[in-house]
């Protein structure tokens, strides 16, 4: 049995105070344009099936794009970190690409791929790949040089040393980068859905508020917050499982 986590009393108190003030203000103004926590809770119950379905669409897109991005980031990042000439060309390109805010390329994505899944997934991949690559490349370069020499004295070929040495050595940095990328993928997915709205939780929030159903919109926002929190907590667990050897050995110290 693990000990129960201590309850954050101040946190509970602040939630109670904020919800109380919000509810009081909602009673005071008494209009559908300013729903309180109670109306929001009712809206969550009333729209539960829709919200869950739309959230499914959003998560499917976010994770498809995330998976595609990982397939690019990890092998290409290791190659750019290890093969100097490739890195020399790719580095400044990435430097420029990360400065374009991802939503700014939504109109271009729209021209090429319309408003369907492809456009949204392209925008998400664009948002994830440059940052993830930079992170991976840097981690590979910072690996202790001794590791590479060990590989050479074992007569590993280039590709073998990339898979057997660089990959595990860069794992901690890659995983940290990917954790940030998962959060970013949710963020960008929802933004893209709001602008290229067909379905998904972003489109739901946008639609409800355009038809003045503010409570339903808030319900969608609450759902986003809860999913975001759950994904973050889950990732921290995965990171701890995957990298327990790293945290135990304290390799980062040397």
């Amino acid at each position: 049995m693990r000990p129960l986590p201590a309850i954050n009393l101040w946190g509970v108190l602040s939630i109670a105070v904020v919800l109380g003030v919000w509810q009081a203000a909602a009673w005071h103004y008494d209009t559908v344009l300013f729903p309180g926590p109670w109306q929001t809770a009712q809206a969550i119950v009333a729209n539960f099936a829709t919200i869950a379905g739309e959230m499914g669409n959003t998560l499917r897109r976010a994770f498809t794009a995330f998976g595609l991005s990982v397939l690019v980031i990890v092998p290409f990042g290791i190659a750019c970190g290890r093969l100097r000439p490739l890195g020399m060309v790719v580095d400044p390109m990435l430097e420029f690409l990360v400065t374009i805010p991802p939503p700014a390329i939504i109109p271009i994505a729209m021209l090429f791929a319309g408003v369907g899944d492809t456009a949204k997934i392209a925008v998400i991949c664009y948002a994830l790949i440059p940052g993830g690559l930079i992170n991976t490349i840097e981690t590979v370069r910072q690996a202790p040089p001794m590791l590479e020499r060990v590989g050479r004295s074992l007569r590993l070929r280039r590709i073998e040393s990339m898979a057997l040495i660089d990959l595990p050595a860069a794992m901690p940095g890659i995983v940290t980068g990917l954790r940030l990328a998962v959060t970013a993928s949710l963020l960008v997915t929802i933004t893209a859905e709001m602008l290229l709205s067909t379905n998904g939780i972003g489109a739901f929030v946008q639609r409800s508020q355009q038809s003045f159903q503010v409570a339903a919109g808030l319900a969608g926002i609450v759902a986003i917050a809860i999913v975001g929190l759950t994904v973050n907590l889950g990732l921290r667990q995965v990171e701890r499982r995957l990298l327990h050897w790293h945290y135990r050995a304290g390799i980062s110290e040397t």
């Binding site: 991802p102 933004t191 503010v214 975001g228």
Partner: protein, 254 residues
């Protein structure tokens, strides 16, 4: 040297781009050649309407950024010095951090209307967290040796915070400030897209729907240039504020 590499990378990007245009992967109407986009960019820089939009987006982003940084540092310092405050804020930071800024724009329009207020609110909402978390972490991580040294020199608690804790924390706080600058610009563009009145984000969609495609590419590149300028601005600010630290790490690395 770094500029030579950047120039080389730019050349490679342009060559790949031109090659894709020649290979007719996409219709030239949708993927204009670099020369056509350069012409559109020249037109953009001499168009008062476009430059007005650029100024609005950049100035709003700067205003939001200027508000975010002191607020984030103040809240972070308060959080680190008063544990109860940090605990009371924690449920909100955990819930709001993964929230896409786009999701709260429609509801903010209901609550506070259009105009600069809307931009300030959405930017602070999205950009505050990196500054806050880095400040809390940096303040809490002040080494015991530094604190004791300060006390040995007879510093009172306020003097200790102003002359030991804050200067020691600034390098890490600047990591948060750099992220906040990028987010400020991003949210400014996204708010343009949703508020739908003016600014680069609005112009991007207007031109995309009017199928003035070279303009769309030129505007997207302008967003990238703005992003570079914001990054450069933070680096200059950093050199001004913590030049001593930058010089010290450079010496240590040499």
């Amino acid at each position: 040297m770094i500029w030579l590499r950047r120039l080389l990378a730019l050349g490679v990007i342009l060559a790949v781009w031109q090659a894709i245009v020649w290979l007719r992967v996409a219709p030239t109407a949708y993927l204009p050649s670099p020369a056509v986009v350069a012409l559109a960019a020249a037109g953009m820089f001499s168009s008062p309407e476009d430059m007005h939009a650029e100024a609005l987006t950049v100035l709003r982003a700067l205003a939001g950024f200027a508000l975010t940084v002191p607020l984030g540092i103040a809240l972070g310092a308060l959080g680190a010095l008063v544990p109860a405050f940090q605990k009371a804020l924690r449920p909100w930071t955990e819930l709001l951090r993964p929230m896409p800024p786009a999701a709260i724009i429609p509801i903010s329009v209901f609550a506070i209307g259009f105009g600069l207020k809307l931009y300030l609110f959405t930017i602070v909402f999205a950009a505050l967290w990196p500054v806050y978390f880095n400040t809390v972490a940096a303040f809490s991580g002040t080494s015991e040796v530094l604190l004791r040294t300060g006390r040995a020199f007879g510093c009172s608690r306020p003097a200790l915070i102003a002359r030991v804790v804050l200067p020691n924390a600034l390098p890490q706080i600047f990591i948060g400030i750099r992220i906040a600058a990028a987010i400020s610009l991003l949210v400014s563009v996204v708010t343009d897209m949703f508020a739908g009145q003016d600014g680069l984000g609005y112009l991007l969609f207007e031109r995309a729907f009017a199928l003035r495609i070279p303009d769309v590419f030129a505007l997207t590149l302008l967003c990238g240039l703005d992003g570079m300028a914001f990054n450069e601005m933070v680096l200059i600010l950093r050199r001004l504020v913590i030049g001593w630290h930058v010089r010290m790490t450079a010496e240590a690395a040499a």
